[in-house]
Every structure is written in C-alpha cells, then in structure tokens.
Amino acid sequence: MTFELLCFYFFGTVAVVAALSVISVKNSVVAALCLVLTFFSMACVWLLAQAEFLGVALALVYVGAVMVLFLFVVMMLDVDFAPLREGFVRFLPVGMLVAAVMLVEMLMMIGVRSVQAPPGEDPAVLAGMSNMEWLGHTLFREFVLPFEIAAVILTVGLIAAVTLNERKRSHTKLQNPARQVMVKREDRIRLVKMAAEKKGEVAP
C-alpha cells in the first residue's frame, strides 16, 4: 500500500464520517463545521487526484467564503432543530429509498461511462502543461461561450437577489458614509473675524 493510497483512504474516511455527522449532530453550528470538514477532505482527495486547481478552488470558495457566510446565518438565527427532527425516524424509509435510487443512478452513470470510453491519459500531462495552465487554455479557448454564459447567468442571479431584497423600509434612518468621509473643515465650522472687545468700552 503506497503512501498516497493511505492518504486517500484517510481523507475519504474523514469526508464520509464528517458528511454523516452533518445530518446527525444536534448542534447546528457543529453541523456546519462538519460540512466544512467534508469540503476540506474532498479538496484533499482532489489534490491527490492531481486536480490541484479544483482542489484549491474548492477550499478557497466553499470553505473560505461560502461556509463562513453560512456559519454567520446559523449563528445569528439560533434555529432550534429539535422540532424539525421529530419526523426523522418516520421519514427514514422514504429517505433511504431516495438515497438508494440516487446511488443506483450514480453507479449506472459511472458504469456506462467507463464501458463507453475508458478515461485516457491526463490531457494536461499529454499537453506538457501544468493542470492549471491546461484548464485555463481549455476554458478560454475551446469553451469561451459556455463560460461566458455561465458568468452571465450568475450575474443575473446576483441582480435578482439584490432586487428581491431591495424594498422600501419605513422608519429607517440612513447615514451616508461617503459624505461623512468627504467632509471638510469648512463644512463644519466657520471662523468669524470680529473686532476685539476692549475693557471699559460700552457694548453697543
């Protein structure tokens, strides 16, 4: 057993255990952290498979940004999951059935693909480039249009999310930090020149 295989089994086991605890632990924050661990172990597995860009991007995007925001929400909401879990045992058979169907579908897909075309040599190695370089060349030369369309769809989603959230709230007081930062001394104080008052003189 090589060291790499040992690492693969280790990361794989951690990923499976963490994924199971995501749905089994009581505390929602701990569950979110287990999801982080799952993502991280999967990133390690991908690194082992020499998909270094995908692995690091997974760690960067999901672990570094998405899950942090997710943790935010979980911490702020303080959801009590106990009532939500009440039907857990009752719905377990249905859940198992769905999971089994999904597993069979996945296995079939992988089986069909492996019968159809066995995965050939790593194209990045064939082209004599690093994984990252090859990905960039392929993405921006052969698949520019799908890539751009995906970007546009994401932008549309972003704009839609912003407009959904943008509603007029009454009784809110806003301050404009831009104007506050730009403020100059002249806007706030006015120096007035006036003659000095002398002692003994009667004020008019």
Binding site: G64, L71, F72, M75, N131, Q175
Partner: protein, 356 residues
C-alpha cells in the same frame, strides 16, 4: 553542510524523509515565532518613540527581553473557560487560527530556490490558507458564549471576507502579468535591467497600495481593528481567552502581519531582487548581494513593510465599521476591477517587460 545533513537523514528511508521535512519546517517556524516576539518589542518601542515615550526599557539590555517576559507571563497564567462555553470548540479555535497562518509561511520564497514548498498554484493556495484563518476568529467568538466576543467575531469575519475580494483581484493582476501562480516565477518575472523600476509596483501601483491596505484590514490591525475595538466591544473575539490560549491568537495575528509584509515584498517589490539590478555588474565578495540581489533584500523590504504596520497604528484613528465596509466595497473593488483590465491590456500590448 546542508546537503550532508540531508543525505544522512535520507539514508534512513521514509523515516528520514519525514525527519528532513520536519527539520525544514522547524527552520522556518522557529524563526517566525522568535520574529513575532521581537516584533512585539519593536512595535512597543516604535510606538513609544512616536508618542515621545521610551517604550519598554527595563528587562534586559534596552528592554530587549521584554517580549520573552511577556510570553512567560502568558504561558504561566491560568486558562479560564467560561462555564457555559462550548469546551471543545473553545480549545480548538486558537489552533485553527494558528495553523493556516503558519502553513502559509511554507510558500514564501526567501531567495532563488530557498522555499519550503514550491507549489504550482502557490498564489491560489495562499489565498485559500489566509481565508481559513477567519474560522479561528468566528469559532472563538461563538464558543465563548459572550455577546462581546460574538459581536467582535461577526465584525472580524465580515471585514476579512470583504477585504479578501480586492486582495484577490490584486493577486489576479499579478498573475496576469506573470502568467504563473508560482511565487518564485513571480519574483523572477520582475527581474530586469531597469533596477527597481522593473518591479510590479510601478505598472500595478493602485493594486500594490490596495493589496497592502487590504492586508492591514485582513489582519484586523489598526486603523481597521474593528474586531477588538476596546472602546466598543472591550476586546472583541478573544475577550474570554486568557493565558496561553490568548498567546496563540496573538502569535497567529503577528505571524499573519509579518506574512503580509513578506508577500507584499514578493508580489510587488521584487522579492530578493536588488533595487540596483542591472545598473552595477561587479563581483565583490560579501557585498555583491547589494546589487545582485539575495535573501538579505527580502528581509530588508519585509522589515520596511512591517514597519508600516506600526506607523499606521501610531498615526491613524480607528475607522468606523460602516466606513470600513464602504472603503472595501465601494472604493477598492471598483478600482481593482478596472485595474485588472488595465493590467491585461498592459500585458497584451506588450507595454511591460516580463522577466530579464
């Protein structure tokens, strides 16, 4: 001598290999820890001078042992756990903060070939590792079960994520210029015959400024130290921590600061390259690193950048939270997006020379 040590260790097979790697890690990690201790002393001294005070001057010559006295004080203090804290996460949080900040050090090239991990996707890995540090802060805030800690953690996390975006764009522009994510290749792409004008700070000037300011914000340092605004939320996310657990947070923060100083050096200021490169070509023993470049330059430049941290802290008043967010989202991100396009044009039309 280094080769002899390496050969003698590798002779033991796999165990020797592991020992060799651990040795290399220690050669980087131990100086980082000592540098953090001395940097704390230097910070107090510099800020003292800027305030027209003396700074620490009692322990050891010139107060040099002050940092070690502080370390031993922290180590011998009791670690107090709040009664309703989440025990496991409370202990885990400082470690999660520390590990990424030390792991990122393995990617820093100090000289040509003098790097622990010469990774192809180095820049991306660096961004990923620095973004992991925020978990330590969030978990510390949440697990201590205190309102102040929670608010501090929220602020810190929001700030870190926000400033990661302009920071990422700054790194993207460096990547566009170099055409590689390898940090050694990034430094070598700044070599040339025009001295310090060959470095990336000139074509990427706005990016360079934004990178360093974002770095200050990312490490939660003054004037962006919203996470621990003493006047508002007492000390932020680590308010419930004491003794060695607090010391670990402290260590992580300062290790990150020095790391940002080194990265600004490597990415924009030519790393180990000399500012006189190409102007003088003489072979003089011992001093020719001054114009030929060497690890000394990396350390000199990083020292200057870490000095800026102290200078900022002594000079600027703390920002207000909404002003920080405005600076990140409404000022830095638009500028960086425009400059990424400018950098691409500079490269495409061949207006900058890459490499020697």
């Amino acid at each position: 001598m280094i080769d002899a040590v390496r050969e003698s260790l590798l002779a033991y097979g796999n165990t020797g290999l592991v020992a060799w790697v651990v040795l290399k890690i220690l050669v980087i990690a131990v100086p980082v820890i000592i540098a953090v201790a001395m940097f704390v002393y230097w910070e107090r001294k510099v800020i003292g001078w800027m305030h027209v005070r003396l700074g620490p001057n009692q322990i050891g010559p010139f107060g040099l042992l002050q940092a070690f006295a502080d370390v031993f004080k922290l180590l011998f203090k009791e670690v107090i756990q709040p009664s309703s804290a989440n025990k496991f996460l409370f202990v885990l949080a400082p470690l999660i903060a520390l590990v990424p900040s030390f792991a990122a050090w393995s990617l820093v090239p100090f000289d040509a070939g003098l790097v622990l991990a010469d990774v192809n996707v180095g820049l991306l890995l660096l961004l990923a590792l620095t973004s992991l540090g925020v978990y330590g802060i969030i978990l510390a805030g949440w697990s201590s079960n205190s309102r102040y800690a929670m608010l501090g953690a929220m602020r810190a996390a929001a700030q870190t994520i926000s400033y990661e975006i302009p920071m990422g764009f700054a790194l993207v522009s460096v990547m566009i210029m170099t055409g590689s994510l390898n940090l050694t290749e990034i430094v070598m792409a700044q070599a040339g015959s025009k001295g310090f004008l060959d470095w990336y700070w000139l074509p990427l000037l706005p990016m360079f400024v934004i990178y360093f300011i974002s770095g200050v914000a990312e490490t939660n340092r003054a004037p962006f130290d919203m996470a621990e605004g003493e006047s508002e939320i007492v000390a932020g996310f680590h308010v419930e921590y004491s003794g060695s657990a607090f010391a670990i947070f402290f260590l992580a923060e300062y290790a990150n600061m020095i790391l940002i100083a080194f990265l600004a050096t490597v990415l924009f200021m030519g790393g180990w390259l000399s500012p006189l490169q190409g102007w003088i070509n003489a072979d003089v023993a011992w001093v020719d690193w001054i114009w030929k470049g060497g690890w000394q330059w990396t350390f000199i430049k990083a020292f200057l950048f870490s000095f800026f941290y102290l200078w900022f802290r002594a000079t600027f008043p703390r920002y207000r939270y909404d002003q920080i967010m405005r600076l990140g989202w409404k000022v830095f991100i638009p500028i960086t997006i425009v400059w990424v396009v400018v950098a691409a044009c500079l490269k495409y039309f061949g207006l900058v020379t890459i490499g020697a």
